[in-house]
């Protein structure tokens, strides 16, 4: 049975691959955000709550809003990146080789990480950690999301009116 942590490794890898390989920039931005959420959960699991909180609030929050705002300003046809992406098809194969190699050669390292994870498990939950220590940042994230959505809508409204 796949454990929580292994599931996160796989999910983060898949999201990273989707971010690089996707032809649609919006899908790329969302995949990158999902990867950041996964990385934040792994960091928290390994007793690095501050790194997790910042990964979640900056990479999954702020950066994603900026990416999505930028993508939304592009026209539909521009959102599909028209470059030769054949070479990226080898990426999943490369990721698989790295994963198998890591599984075989890096097992002691994963065991050592698991010790940190067991130590980390004694602390607070990610939710309470976020709320207790970074409450204002979370509200700031909500405000920036609101600003981003309003900016996109106001710009689109102008474009519609022009059409």
């Amino acid at each position: 049975m796949i454990e929580y942590r292994e599931f996160l490794y796989v999910a983060v890898t898949l999201c990273a691959l989707a971010a690089v390989m996707s032809k649609n920039m919006l899908t790329s931005a969302i995949s990158l955000a999902a990867m950041s959420v996964g990385v934040a959960l792994i960091l928290f699991d390994f007793n690095a709550p501050w790194a997790a909180v910042f990964e979640l609030s900056v990479c999954a929050g702020l950066i994603t809003v900026l990416f999505i705002s930028a993508v939304s300003l592009l026209r539909k046809e521009e959102a599909f990146f028209a470059e030769d992406r054949t070479r990226f098809r080898l990426l999943p194969l490369f990721a698989l080789i790295v994963a198998i190699g890591g599984w075989i050669a890096g097992w002691p390292f994963f065991e050592a990480l698991a010790d940190y994870a067991r130590f980390g498990a004694r602390g607070q939950s990610l939710g309470s950690m976020l709320w207790e220590t970074r409450r204002m940042d979370l509200l700031g994230q909500i405000a920036i999301l609101a600003a981003g959505v309003l900016v996109i809508n106001s710009v689109f409204a102008v474009k519609k009116a022009e059409k």
Binding site: S57, L62, V65, S69, M136, D137, L139, G140, Q141, I142, A143, I144, A146, A147, G148, L150, V151, N153, S154, V155, A157, V158
Partner: protein, 477 residues
């Protein structure tokens, strides 16, 4: 942030999220929602600051940070005036009210978040929220000038954000915290190394760019001049002051705590403040466009605040914070009135305006009050803040800066007197012949703000005791 201050940030944010849904079909509802939200907030913070128990205690009963409370009051005051003015100014032309007012409210919410934050990272987040909302507000009427100003604003302020982020990273590495209180304790304990000063210097640099201080001021006149008229008042009056100047004053409060090592940084700050006063005042004299002249004048006034922040004595902080408040009041009046003049005459060219007092007496006289306050004429509020800054400079031995500040203040006064004569008094110009006074709804914000300018000047002892009791004695001494 304490829970009691959270409301000032959360309520406008909720209102902003609600407006696009409720005002989808009826644009007027957006204006009503925004105005009512801001009015309620202003009454609430006004009561918190000025209720009888607080006045009777000489402001010592106020438990919160006095700097934050005064800034919240100023934010709501300017926000209300701009929202009320916009409702009558736009007449629905080219501005999407269902998104304009929510963006205004998000800006108010972000500014309240910034001034009530108790750590550098949170402050940075809210400043970025403000930057995103300001960008869209500048382009509200979709004009070429507005877009040009917004792009310049983005191109110059986003590298500044990167520098601030770098400063945050160095701070976390050197001090292990972003919290104002913890940083203060670290500095007091004497365990802080040069890395902490370096992190503060990086952040200071970023916020100076966002303040539009010389030599980082190139984006400011274009942004103010090109923006949708009520947005210019909002930007010049409060947005750039909170996203830049407020943070500079906060950081300066930390610099003075260092025993050695940070004084050079304070000296640089004072020098930049003085250069900003000079460049802003001289550049303002050369302008023909009323709004552009006001933009340079705003840069010059920012210089006084930065100069006082660099001096970093308790009296200098009182002067800087009072001037920050005063600047918000008089620049809001002047920018709103420049919009009224443009609406009534169709021009902002000062060569074409003349004798406007005959056609637009209310607009003219409120402008005169604001200009005299900007120039530092007693007993208006601008006089008191400038004189405090000059006395603080003299008191601390910075005689050259004190004399220069006084000279440029006199220069500003001379120029404003000439300009008043050119625009508002004298023979009626063709533009004045054709113009008529704007509606009472457009005049009301300017009249309210002018009343605040006069009241703040006449009731200066109360202001001084507020600033001394809630800011200087608690945060600096």
């Amino acid at each position: 942030m304490t829970i009691s201050l959270l409301q000032y940030m959360l309520i406008p944010l909720f209102s902003a999220l609600l407006i696009p849904f409720v005002a989808r079909r009826r644009g007027r509802l957006a204006e009503i929602f925004a105005t009512v939200t801001l009015l309620a907030g202003l009454i609430n913070i006004g009561w918190t600051l000025l209720n009888p128990a607080v006045l009777a205690s000489g402001f010592s009963a106020l438990g919160e940070d006095g700097f934050s409370l005064l800034m919240i009051f100023t934010i709501y005051l300017v926000g209300l005036c701009v929202a009320f003015f916009s409702a009558s100014y736009g007449d629905g032309r080219g501005v999407n009210t269902a998104y304009f007012y929510p963006l205004l409210l998000v800006s108010v919410s972000a500014m309240c978040g910034a001034v009530t934050s108790t750590d550098f990272f949170t402050l940075f987040i809210f400043v970025e929220v403000l930057a995103v909302a300001s960008f869209a507000l500048m382009t509200s009427d979709d004009t070429k000038e507005g877009i040009e100003g917004a792009v310049k604003y983005y191109l110059l302020t986003f590298p500044a954000s990167a520098v601030i982020m770098l400063g945050l990273a160095v701070m976390l590495l050197s001090a292990g915290t972003f919290s104002f209180d913890s940083i203060r304790i670290i500095i007091y304990s004497g365990t802080s190394g040069p890395a902490l000063i370096f992190s503060l210097a990086l952040m200071l640099l970023g916020f100076l760019v966002k303040s539009g201080v010389v030599p980082f001021h190139v984006w400011t006149p274009d942004a103010y001049q090109g923006s949708y008229a009520p947005v210019s008042a909002f930007l010049a009056g409060i947005v750039t002051k909170i996203s830049g100047v407020y943070a500079v004053v906060r950081i300066a409060m930390f610099l003075r705590l260092f025993e050695t090592g940070a004084f050079r940084l304070s000296e640089v700050l004072m020098f930049l403040g003085m250069v900003t006063i000079a460049v802003g005042a001289i550049a303002a004299m050369k302008q023909d466009d009323f709004k552009r002249m006001l933009a340079f004048s705003s840069i010059s006034q920012t210089g006084y605040i930065v100069l006082a922040a660099g001096l970093a004595t308790p009296l200098a902080f009182i002067g800087a914070i009072f001037h920050l408040f005063n600047h918000a009041t008089f620049k809001t009046v002047l920018f709103l009135n420049s919009a009224s003049l443009e609406k009534a005459t169709g021009t902002r060219d000062m060569n074409k305006l003349g004798g406007m007092e005959h056609a637009m007496p209310w607009t003219s006289w409120t402008s005169v009050i604001a200009m005299l306050s900007t120039a530092g004429v007693p007993p208006l509020s601008g006089f008191w803040s400038k004189i405090i800054i000059i006395i603080a400079l003299w008191d601390a031995g910075a005689v050259t800066y004190a004399v220069l500040a006084l000279l440029f203040s006199a220069l500003t006064l001379a120029y404003f007197v000439v300009m008043q004569r050119r625009i508002f008094f004298g023979r009626k110009s063709p533009a004045a012949e054709a113009a008529a006074e704007v509606s009472p709804a457009l005049l009301a914000p300017a009249v309210l703000m002018s009343a605040v300018i006069v009241a703040a000047g006449l009731l200066f002892p109360y202001f001084f005791s507020y600033l001394a009791e809630t800011i200087a004695s608690r945060m600096v001494l």
